[in-house]
């Protein structure tokens, strides 16, 4: 029979997921199967998406879940619909918080990405020869999203162990996950600590860090005094690198949507068509991209 | 023995002392009239009686017992029922549901729908009110709605019933139904408090009378027979009014307004007539005769099916009030609450809304001229208000009506004035002012169409009367042929073949 695979993602508007879908489609074209792409922003939508896939005769699906605790429900639903299940990006956990190891997963831990960010910042501080005592850190936070917390915590842990003074890390909670919200929150922090000369910034994604960078510009902090490192590496970051003069947006940690999209789709296809079960756990890694090497990094990751 | 007693009732609103120390008594089984100029405090007194508003001071006693109402419900349980001046019906519910609202016959919260409709149907039949009990109130004309309100009072076993201007939207025939109901209630010993601006009715119905003026008791007549019209008027207004109508001969010019074959969704038979410069044409008919529909079609408030309306030979485009105004026609609508007052806005704005275009260059207002305009009409029509900035919703019913009239009477360059029930709820004192304005406008060459359900008014001020009945013109009578009986006969639907007139 024709192979039909579902690909459910939690935030269809995010470029990252657009890319995952694009690469999944690429795999589908090569192997001649169909990918049904569904966005499901919350637990309830996930449930109906799985039902929907079952109803249209799909044989399996890949999911990046809106919340890892949805694990048991997703597994049960998949079984009820006799669908094979794989996860991408975020790994499902059980009620007690342990990963569901039976479900094949491809991803990267949020903490790890955060640590890469933290490391990049620390390295650059040293390179620029700043004294950490004189540096402020804007932690653009969005605590209602667990992944966001994990990422930011990852970055902070590296900063701390490198000797960054904890009291210099200031919280800028964004009310929404867009750049404007981050910009407004960060502006307040920068103005509150008007005496701090050097700044670093990190957050959930590129948009968050961009907000902090825009804030630094609007209060007149020179780009050379700011190190912002984002996560994602899609257009928002690229636009920044393309600007004629360097900005405070120093770099971004790119993770590869190609592997996550293409390989997961292929693995699922093999599982369904050839009964070849995928590896239980595949971890990919994030790579730091800077203004001068982002094109190369992207190429290495197989994007574009 | 005094059954109902008001003792030293006072009630103030910001800027207005609506009632000051009002005391009087009413005997058991009496119909007691309550009169006074617009804004004198009649409705306020009734609202206090109904438990809707608490008095600042004073007591009400029923059957010697002091009444302490925390809500309308309490008053209701004490046997006090009030029919308010503004219709208080829920348009989305049926007639039967409206009549039972607040006390549905129910078991465990579940309504007996059948019983509901049936009891109402038989009751309405019994008291002679011709409305379908399962119709939505939204589909009824104002007059019919008023009858439904009245049925509310009659259906309950009340000890005290207050009626606040119940006949203002009724024509003589429906009024008669009401009067016979009142006679019946009176015979049962019910005390009735009756507010009206119509002296005829007061003398026809009431045993005793109280006159309010500026919130104070102006006069109390335990026996109505011991007083006269003239005396009451001067107690109300503080001056004599000899001739309310004041009609006088005017020269008539060419035809101004020409209506040919006008028809619409609710007015199926085409209507044609014309009005000359300086002429006041009266329209009379019973409730639902179609006069208001005709006026709305004329003005373009509703979409026409057919017909042509011309002013000085120029066609008025249909379905567009703004175009009508630009062509020189205005309509003062019959339903002030839904079509007239603009809630939340001041008297001043309510008056200026249409005519301000004449003195607002490039759309920029002239506050000074708006204020002057408002002040002029507040004075001329004797609007009782602390300030022209007052929100119109805070005015008494009659005063609201005056403001709406002011809106249209202040228009400039108007050739045709259509005015539907102009003096509904307006006191005697102001009535003659309004008629004077109409005569003045007519003398200036305006063609005026007046719709009224009050036969004396139509006969008093019109140069000619068209009688409508069931959506058709039943008669067209010139002033020299005015005759109360003939006009009424023409208005009745069950008359024998036309031709008596």
């Amino acid at each position: 029979a024709d192979v039909k695979i579902g690909f459910i993602v939690k935030q269809p508007e995010e470029p990252w997921f657009q890319d995952e879908w694009k690469f999944a489609d690429q795999a589908a074209k090569e192997k001649g199967f169909t990918v049904v792409k569904i966005g499901a922003e919350d637990g309830e939508k996930v449930q109906s998406a799985i039902d929907n896939l079952g109803a249209q005769g799909a044989q399996g699906f890949i999911i990046c879940t809106p919340d890892v605790k949805l694990g048991p429900g997703i597994v049960a639903k998949a079984e009820a619909n006799q669908l094979k299940l794989m996860t991408v990006d975020d790994r499902l956990v059980s009620a007690d918080g342990k990963p569901l190891e039976d479900v094949p997963h491809m991803g990267i831990s949020a903490t790890k990405i955060g640590e890469t960010v933290g490391q990049a910042i620390v390295d650059e501080i040293k390179k620029r020869g700043w004294d950490m005592k004189n540096v402020g850190a804007v932690r653009v936070s969005y605590d209602q999203l667990p992944t966001a917390v994990d990422r930011v915590e990852g970055a902070m842990s590296v900063l701390k162990s490198a000797g960054f003074p904890v009291e210099n890390i200031y919280d800028a909670p964004q009310a929404k996950t867009d750049t404007e919200a981050a910009l407004n929150a960060a502006t307040t922090v920068l103005n509150k600590h008007a005496d701090v000369k050097y700044w670093v910034a990190f957050g959930l994604n590129d948009e968050a860090v961009l907000g902090a960078v825009r804030a630094s510009e609007s209060v007149g902090i020179p780009a050379a005094n700011v190190i912002g490192v984002g996560i994602g590496g899609a257009e928002s970051a690229i636009n920044e690198f393309k600007k004629p003069a360097p900005t405070g947006f120093f770099g971004t940690v790119i993770i590869s949507p190609k592997r996550h999209g293409y390989e997961t789709a292929l693995n699922m296809y093999d599982w369904i068509a050839n009964d070849k079960e995928p590896a239980k756990l595949t971890l990919t890694s994030g790579s730091l991209a800077l203004r001068d090497d982002y094109e190369k990094v992207r190429k290495d990751l197989g994007i574009e | 023995m005094a059954f109902l007693e008001f003792s030293n009732i006072s009630k103030g609103y910001p800027g207005v002392q609506a009632l000051a120390n009002v005391s009087f008594t009413v005997e058991k089984g009496a119909v007691h009239g309550l009169m006074g100029e617009n804004g004198a405090g009649k409705s306020t007194l009734i609202r206090v009686l109904s438990g809707d508003q608490a008095a600042d001071a004073g007591n009400i006693l029923v059957d010697g017992k002091e009444q302490k109402y925390a809500s309308v419900r309490d008053a209701f349980h004490a046997g006090v029922i009030v029919i308010h001046q503004e219709l208080q019906l829920v348009p989305e519910l049926t007639v039967a549901e409206n009549l039972w609202l607040g006390r549905f016959p129910a078991k465990g919260g579940v309504i007996h729908s059948k019983a509901l409709i049936e009891t109402v149907r038989s009751k309405l039949e019994e008291i002679g009110i011709d409305v379908d009990s399962s119709a939505k109130v939204a589909s009824l004309s104002i007059g019919a709605r008023q009858m439904v309100e009245i049925a509310k009072a009659v259906m309950l076993d009340a000890r005290v019933i207050a009626l606040d201007e119940p006949t203002s939207s009724l024509s003589s025939r429906e009024s008669e139904i009401l009067f016979s109901l009142i006679d019946r209630l009176k015979a049962q010993g019910t005390v009735i408090l009756y507010v009206s601006h119509r002296l005829d009715e007061i003398f026809r119905l009431c045993d005793s009378l109280t006159v309010l003026r500026d919130g104070k008791l102006a006069a109390h007549h335990p026996q109505i027979a011991e007083t006269t019209r003239e005396q009451i008027i001067s107690e109300m207004v503080g001056r004599e009014i000899s001739n309310v109508w004041g009609w006088r001969e005017r020269p008539l010019g060419d035809v101004r307004l020409e209506v040919k074959g006008l028809s619409g969704p609710r007015l199926r038979h085409p209507i044609s007539f014309s009005v000359r410069q300086g002429e006041i044409l009266g329209f009379f008919g019973l409730i639902g005769a179609g006069r208001s529909d005709m006026a709305r079609l004329l003005y373009g408030a509703d979409a026409r099916h057919q017909g042509q309306v011309t002013i000085d030979g120029v066609a008025v485009s249909p379905n567009n009030p703004k175009a009508a105004i630009n062509a020189g026609m205005v309509l003062c609508p019959e339903d002030r609450k839904f079509d007239g007052i603009i809630q939340g806005r001041s008297i001043e704005e309510n008056i200026a809304i249409s005519s301000r275009r004449h003195f607002s260059p490039f759309g920029i207002l002239s506050p000074r001229r708006e204020a002057a305009l408002a002040d002029r009409f507040i004075a001329k029509l004797r609007v009782r208000t602390p300030s022209r900035k007052q929100d119109i919703i805070n005015l008494s019913g009659g005063n609201q009506q005056k403001v709406i009239l002011g809106r249209w009477l202040s228009e400039q360059g108007i050739k045709v004035l259509v005015i539907d029930e102009p003096t509904r709820g307006i006191d005697v004192g102001a009535k003659s002012e309004i008629y004077e304005i109409l005569y003045e406008l007519a003398a200036g060459g305006m063609a005026i169409v007046v719709i009224s359900s009050e036969l004396p008014e139509v006969m008093g001020i019109s140069d000619r009367i068209m009688v409508m009945c069931q959506g058709r013109v039943a008669a067209n009578v010139a002033r020299q042929d005015f005759d109360e009986r003939n006009i009424l006969t023409a208005a009745l639907p069950d008359k024998n073949a036309a031709g008596t007139l």
Partner: protein
């Protein structure tokens, strides 16, 4: 011809139009009219459907409730957390229902007694309650300890899952309450003319408080079922629910100006929303185009309904 027009334009016009649309979709969309898909479809509208029952009352009485999504999430969390803490599912469920009702009651008190604008009040409680849910769970989903909790959503009766039965029962119940009880008529009266209702002796303040409390309680039911379906209490669940529910109601002919409502219309409104999502996914319509299509469907549905009612020639 004329009688066809009558049916289309009558009171039940939307239902008829909907039925026609349903037939067309069934014919042209593969996999749509299968038992599996129908059940999946119905399950996907359980939350909206349940909450719409009481939202209908809320709107019919001229009120407005934006806090429903937060209450659903919050009471779901409570159900799970209390069940986990006490080890007793019934206690957890009771706690959730109580919490929902209490939040609704507070809404009602603030709105009706203190006469605060309903939009602002429920916008405020929407944030407060969401904040409480986040604080209680530290922003993370709470897993369910006792697998019996899942049975609420998984169990079936006559092959139909329990949540669907509950939704159907609530449809019938609230349809009855609206049309046949004093409570329902008073609700419509308050919405149609609050002043007249008050003067007729209806206790408008109490009625409004009750309606909000009921709304909260029903959100509690929806929250429990949702938590059971997604096997966890999620502080971020059901965001944006308020707009979906209000749209479903308005689509179904409930007037935002109060006084007009019908259960059949609301059911149709709910189904239209569910079918639109379902069909778009069955047809594999791209995410961004789904936005556009969703908007167009909303527009077309009200446009049709409007043609109908304006042809029926109501004034105002």
């Amino acid at each position: 011809m004329n009688s066809l027009k009558k049916i289309l334009l009558g009171e039940q016009g939307l239902v008829v139009i909907f039925a026609a649309a349903f037939v067309i979709v069934s014919l042209f969309v593969p996999n749509f009219l299968t038992e599996r898909n129908m059940l999946g479809l119905l399950q996907s509208v359980v939350t909206i459907g349940i909450v719409a029952c009481t939202m209908m009352f809320c709107l019919a009485s001229r009120d407005f409730d934006l806090s429903v999504g937060s209450i659903v999430a919050f009471s779901g969390m409570i159900a799970v957390m209390v069940s986990n803490a006490t080890g007793s599912i019934p206690v957890g469920l009771l706690a959730a229902l109580l919490c929902g009702a209490v939040v609704g009651f507070v809404n009602g008190i603030v709105i009706a007694r203190f006469r605060i604008n309903a939009l602002i009040t429920t916008l405020a409680t929407m944030q407060i309650v969401r904040g409480l849910a986040l604080i209680a769970s530290d922003g993370r989903a709470v897993g369910i300890n006792d697998p019996d909790f899942y049975q609420l959503a998984l169990s079936r009766f006559l092959t139909v899952p329990t949540p669907i039965w509950i939704m159907l029962i609530l449809f019938i119940l609230f349809g009855f309450v609206l049309n046949r009880t004093v409570f329902g008529k008073n609700t419509l009266a308050i919405g149609g003319n609050p002043e007249a209702s008050r003067l007729a002796g209806v206790n408008v303040v109490n009625m409004r408080v009750w309606i909000f409390a009921l709304q909260g309680l029903v959100c509690g039911i929806a929250g429990i079922l949702l938590a059971s379906r997604i096997t966890s209490g999620q502080p971020n669940a059901a965001t944006g629910l308020e707009l979906s529910v209000i749209s479903a109601c308005v689509l179904g002919g409930v007037s935002l100006a109060g006084g007009r409502a019908a259960m059949s219309g609301v059911i149709v409104g709910v189904l239209i929303m569910g079918i639109a999502e379902n069909v778009m996914n069955l047809l594999n319509i791209q995410a961004f185009y789904q936005y556009v299509v969703r908007g167009l469907i909303l527009l077309i549905a009200v446009l049709l309904d409007n043609l109908r009612s304006s042809a029926a020639g109501r004034r105002g």
